[in-house]
Assembly symmetry: C2
Homo-oligomer: 164 residues x 2
DNA sequence: ACTAACTTGTTATAGTATTACGTCTGTATC
DNA sequence: GATACAGACGTAATACTATAACAAGTTAGT
């Protein structure tokens, strides 16, 4: 199982297990929820978890084509819609790109750290701040259904390189 | 001066003063910072503050055309780049749309509440959570430069209408 | 006036996403 | 098994969002 404490994108780790773990977890999750984890959907999640960074829909489409799947935009977008809807992946709005969820099964508000030097994205575990955020919404009378937090900055690797 | 405590998008208020105040504040701000608040830039900010909701670049472009300005995409995008860069407007990544800043002059991390029923957007004052957010970044060794928070949900008006 | 830096006008093109329609499954019902 | 239905996929066309590249005009300092 994946360790929810550390953001994967910035850390070295055994990547073979990483992909397998993600797919296994997704299979289990979909079985429980009676969701159809079809070959295309599985392949897209596999593609996403192979790279620990955000991929655009058309980059995913290229890889699908190489693997013999359909290669028109809706193929990728429909699979991505499914994955995002069911929390198996997230969309990084800032980049118009998608990333596999690093914390499947854990309730979490996605918090993405995006390095604008090397474009790496890491998802951190973020326990929603019931203080500032919710109270701001309550003051306005707004009912929050979903929150995303995207931070732009510099990743540890680029800091070390002295690019900052 | 604008009241930073209440999100404008969801509240009734004197809109004539609202636009004038925003433009006046922007003029003052640009004068102080020696920024060139040109006619196009001013017009775009005026357009944005006339509607308290997010507008796409091409919607802005239509209004620019009606007012006799250039009507090619770069005209709008360049003005928007200027406004966003200098904190006079924000981009709502989720909507690929732009909105006038409601809290010019106040240091703030933009926090947007987006109603997915009526598409209204309100910007709330949000004091960054030095706790959860920063500590998550620090654990990863990530250096945050800018953070945006976007919440999807239902606005007070739509809740009242019973659309929830 | 001369120069450099910045802003605008214009054309073309790149990148992202959706609509629409036909077909093919799997599943439930008769 | 035949029928009906819903969900998923294949494909073509199109809509929406954003940028590159270059020319021309403006501003401010020398
Ligand atoms: Zn990995
Ligand atoms: Zn980096
Ligand atoms: Zn107003
Ligand atoms: Zn609403």
């Amino acid at each position: 199982m994946l360790n929810p404490a550390l953001p994967l994108g910035f850390a070295h780790h055994d990547h073979t297990n990483c992909v397998i773990d993600t797919l296994t977890a997704a299979e289990t999750y979909c079985a429980e929820k009676e969701l159809r984890f079809t070959p295309v959907r599985r392949k897209v999640l596999e593609i996403l978890s192979q790279e620990h960074r955000a991929l655009g829909a058309y980059a995913i489409l290229d890889r699908l084509r190489e693997s013999g799947f359909g290669s028109q935009p809706p193929i990728a977008y429909r699979a991505l819609d499914f994955l995002v809807l069911n929390g198996l992946a997230h969309k990084i709005e800032r980049l118009n790109a998608f990333i596999a969820c690093s914390h499947l099964g854990y309730t979490h508000t996605p918090f993405f750290m995006i390095c604008h030097l090397c474009n790496t994205v890491a998802e951190a575990q973020y326990v929603p701040d019931r203080g500032a955020l919710e109270s701001a919404a309550q003051t306005a009378g707004f009912h929050i259904e979903q929150t995303v937090v995207e931070a732009k900055g510099v990743c540890p690797s680029c800091i070390t390189k002295g690019d900052i």
